[in-house]
């Protein structure tokens, strides 16, 4: 049985709201993304492949993905710990800390970029300490990693926090009455319950980091094959008026984003089917 495209409704405003929604969505989002894909289709796969298949571009894509993965993993661990601390523990300054978690969402990336650079550059507050220890942070992959941790920080915490709030106390008590130590309860009962939300947050954090530009370029140093990220290469290609090159990298990154969207959806469908909640 196919259901009708639109069910009739007595509420007015359908044509107007549908019109505004679809017009703006098409103009602002779909048309531009379509233009990118069309450009790619016109150029043809061999031309795109030729553009992407250089050591510099593979290097940048690989670097972006690798460092984003590390940053998302670190955020996964700290995000879960932070969500736990914010929900379960009471200590002075907790609400301030809770509010501050969203700072990376609110602070413009360029501001974050120059601030992190000022701190971690060899003459900066933290960078000079690192330098005394014979270690360089800004203008190396470490610097990029720090910027990517910064921008991805809120995702895991904000997806896990509501789940921690909903854990029934009785479930943890049941584990204790069955003889489990607190550590065993955390490992076998609590963490698995947080896992689907944590994985969603991890994937969101990863997706954000792979595409991040503003906070990274200041601290990265942007040395080809060493500290050059994929989004920067798009900017460089555009400055060289190499539109096919920019399109090729753009499509590659779009594919990575779509793949991650699919993964996020799969996690949610899987956990909803198996345990009846996300």
């Amino acid at each position: 049985m196919s259901r009708p495209l639109i069910n009739r409704s007595p509420l007015p405003g359908m044509a107007l709201s549908a019109g505004i929604t679809l017009t703006l969505l098409s103009l602002v989002v779909l048309l531009p993304i379509g233009a990118l894909l069309l450009r790619g289709a016109t150029a043809g796969f061999p031309a795109l492949w030729h553009e992407v298949n250089t050591p510099r571009i593979w290097g940048a894509l690989f670097l972006s993905f690798k460092l984003s993965l590390y940053a998302a993993l670190i955020n996964l661990v700290f995000g879960v710990a932070l969500a736990w601390v914010l929900v379960r523990y009471r200590f002075p300054g907790r609400r301030l800390l809770d509010a501050a978690v969203d700072l990376p969402f609110a602070l413009p990336t360029a501001v974050a970029g120059i601030a992190l650079t000022a701190l971690y550059a060899p003459n900066g507050a933290f960078g000079s300490i690192a330098k005394d220890l014979g270690f360089k942070i800004a203008y190396t992959q470490w610097g990029i990693l720090i910027a990517l941790i910064f921008v991805g920080l809120p995702f895991v915490t904000r997806t896990v926090q509501p789940v921690v709030e909903e854990i029934e106390r009785e479930v943890e008590e049941a584990s204790a009455t069955l003889g489990a130590t607190r550590a065993y309860t955390l490992r076998r009962v609590v963490l698995p319950m947080l896992a689907p939300a944590a994985m969603t947050g991890f994937a969101l954090s990863l997706a954000r980091a792979v595409g991040e530009y503003g906070s990274v370029i200041f601290i990265a140093g942007n040395i080809p094959l060493k500290t050059e990220i994929a989004p920067l290469l798009i900017v460089i290609k555009l400055e060289e008026f190499n539109y096919t090159g920019a399109t090729a990298i753009g499509i590659a990154m779009l594919l990575i984003s779509f793949a991650m969207l699919l993964v996020i959806n799969a996690i949610q469908v899987f956990s909803r089917r198996r345990i009846g909640y996300v």
């Binding site: 009708p4 639109i6 069910n7 409704s9 007595p10 509420l11 405003g13 107007l16 929604t21 703006l24 969505l25 602002v28 048309l31 531009p32 993304i33 990118l36 700290f78 932070l82 601390v85 379960r88 523990y89 800390l97 809770d98 509010a99 700072l103 969402f105 609110a106 602070l107 413009p108 990336t109 360029a110 501001v111 120059i114 601030a115 000022a118 701190l119 941790i149 904000r158 509501p162 943890e172 008590e173 204790a176 607190r182 969101l204 997706a207 595409g211 991040e212 530009y213 503003g214 200041f218 989004p231 900017v235 555009l238 539109y243 920019a246 753009g250 990154m253 779009l254 779509f258 991650m260």
Partner: protein, 296 residues
């Protein structure tokens, strides 16, 4: 019926020997709190302090003077214009999309929601690239518009479009869960009482969603004013014309005008702090009217 409310978490353990079974040992708790506090201090608070410290490194007078120079003032003006156009448009879009999605039953709803969320998972630089490939001077549409004297790319319209792209889902995403939760019974009741569509919207729907709307607009505005990657690609970075605040910060920073760059950055950081404060106040005050579970 239980005698003890089980959703209430024990606040303080009575003593070490008798701590509730659902808490960790005091040593573990203190250590974990210390770890996250240090982590956040190094990663969140330190950069924030650094922005203001660098801006004020030559004194407050220098910082304010640098904000008064024409480059900075034109950047501030441009950013305000962009936000003044992009944010209301996205608010209208968000309201229309939320109304369309939550009040009617139609096929392809899930796809529509996915498409609305799409900009969140697209790199801002790719978003800028898409706009250049759509409206750039060497494209059919863009070429024609340039010939008519209305350039899009490297001009104000593309900056607005880029800002709209990256903030596109904010308002809709905040409103949709709230409006799903509220259902459509109240609107239907108003309809049976003879109210017109606009009357229903302004007297029934809007009062129910106003705080969620404000919340979405707040986040949308912060992001629109601070957007860098997408705008960097489409603006052309023409001094005094298409350089928004974040773009100007980059140019000043690359010219080693540290105080000027950080002073402008401090203005945006203040905006971020105001946004966070208002957002937190909204969450405390109107938690029940916001889509609390979906705060991303």
């Amino acid at each position: 019926m239980s005698d003890v409310p089980t959703n209430h978490w024990p606040k303080q353990p009575a003593s070490a020997a008798h701590r509730p079974v659902t808490t960790e040992s005091p040593g573990f708790r203190v250590a974990l709190i210390a770890v996250v506090v240090v982590f956040l201090a190094l990663l969140l608070f330190a950069p924030l302090v650094a922005v203001f410290a660098e801006a004020l490194s030559k004194g407050a007078v220098e910082a304010i003077k640098s904000l008064a120079n024409p480059e900075a003032t034109s950047a501030i003006k441009l950013t305000l214009i962009v936000a003044a156009v992009a944010v209301p448009l996205n608010a209208v879009f968000g309201i229309a999309a939320a109304w369309f999605i939550t009040k009617y039953d139609f096929r392809g709803k899930a796809l529509l929601i996915t498409l609305i969320d799409l900009p969140f998972s697209v790199s801002p630089v790719v978003a800028g690239l898409c706009l250049v490939l759509t409206f750039g001077a060497n494209t059919a549409v863009g070429g024609w518009l340039v010939a008519q004297g209305y350039p899009i790319v490297f001009a104000l319209p593309s900056i607005i479009l880029a800002s709209m792209f990256v903030t596109f889902p904010f308002v809709a995403r905040e409103l949709i869960p709230v409006m799903i939760e509220q259902g459509k019974a109240e609107e239907e009741a108003a309809l049976t009482l003879g109210a017109s569509g606009w009357r229903i919207f302004f007297t029934v729907t809007l009062p129910n969603i106003r705080w969620a709307l404000l919340y979405g607009v707040l986040l949308c505005n912060a992001r629109a004013m601070g957007e860098f990657g997408a705008v960097a690609v489409v603006s052309g970075k023409i001094r005094g014309q298409t350089a928004t605040m974040p773009i100007t910060i980059e140019m000043l920073y690359n010219e080693y005008l540290s105080v000027s760059a950080f002073s402008l950055a401090a203005v945006l950081a203040l905006l971020a702090l105001v946004t966070l404060t208002l957002k937190t106040l909204l969450e405390w005050r109107f938690a029940d009217q916001l889509a609390a579970a979906n705060r991303l």
